[in-house]
Point group: C2
Chain length 176, copies 2
DNA sequence: CAATTCTTGACCGCATTTGTCGGGAATAGT
DNA sequence: ACTATTCCCGACAAATGCGGTCAAGAATTG
């Protein structure tokens, strides 16, 4: 798994764009870089990819800049990260082997684990949009999903049975 | 976030240990490295950390090796990864700044997002133990949690309302 | 004492990430 | 047309740290 600053920066930039731009107003990269404290040249590279992925549209010339291609509520964090973090490295488990895990017979014991983790993470990132970030509606979201996804929406159909979630202190996975 | 091969290898090794060893039998690193196709010297480093974290106990001399310190069902993947993937880099968002995100006033927009993601991932990794891996009881686990954690255990208290999960194709987050 | 096996620390090459730089191409205003 | 603005693109540089090796040493068994 590989989620680097590229992904973080991209989300920050698009969230900024969602907050400080409208459908009619373009925001220049320099402004975003300034507000978010990021390198302008670096951001340019990221926006190039975001554009190729169809998430933003560019307007050149004076008064130009970028604007979101869709509604902020229709752009998931998952999509943003995917646009920027290219290589879908389904890394072979046994690196000497060309087919690796896919090789059916010698599928390594932890294969399912990482596959499931990928799904789990993607479910989360897909469930959050730029609109959510701008609206500051993200805190507590993980707990909400764990309690049952229905509670994320409103709170019909409660479903709180604890299940088997050992406590244990979160370690090994780092963010921010 | 940073989940590298170190974490993968560690889990593979401990799962192997859970499968091929008992409370009375020690398994030498060489055996594990051989079965899992990993570098022995590299594994040694990982086991050093696993031991310091209290997850395994070492027995030296001929007939020695490693054995799990606890029951396989009492060791979560989260614990393993945490033991091996050291640096708790709560990386400052604005790298020039010493306090970064914590600095209350200038907390960057995406702070909550990554914090929640960390929680979300950890919930998953904490819910899975070595015993689960050995028993091959991991497939479909993410979907199960999304449907409501209660369904992971058995299937009392169903709770299936879809919630807001846009489809979208998983991208950007890679595993093996 | 000799064979195992863990224990530790130093070391290194390489790929990837994280940028920088400079020039070029569209566009708007004058 | 000229100029200022802004996106666009490719090459290049630096740093980080991952993945892995090597060698020496300390327990333990027989």
């Amino acid at each position: 798994m590989e989620l680097t600053t590229k992904g973080r920066y991209a989300v920050m930039a698009l969230a900024d764009l969602a907050a400080n731009g409208r459908a009619d107003r373009s925001v220049p990269i320099a402004d975003i870089a300034g507000r978010q404290g990021l390198s302008q040249s670096y951001l340019e590279q990221l926006f190039a990819r975001l554009r190729r992925a169809g998430l933003v549209r560019a307007v050149r010339g004076p008064g130009g800049g970028y604007r979101l291609a869709r509604d902020p509520g229709a752009i998931s964090v998952s999509a943003v990260v995917a646009a920027v973090d290219e290589e879908i490295r389904v890394t072979a488990c046994q690196k000497g082997d060309a087919l690796g895990c896919q090789g059916r017979s010698s599928r390594c014991i932890t294969h399912d684990l990482w596959a499931e983790l990928t799904v789990h993470i993607d479910q989360f990132l897909t469930s959050i949009t730029l609109a959510d970030i701008v609206a500051d509606a993200v805190r507590g979201r993980a707990a909400a999903m764990a309690a049952g996804p229905s509670s994320v929406q409103g709170d019909s159909g409660r479903c709180v049975t604890a299940g088997r979630l050992r406590a244990h202190g979160m370690g090994g996975v780092h963010a921010t």
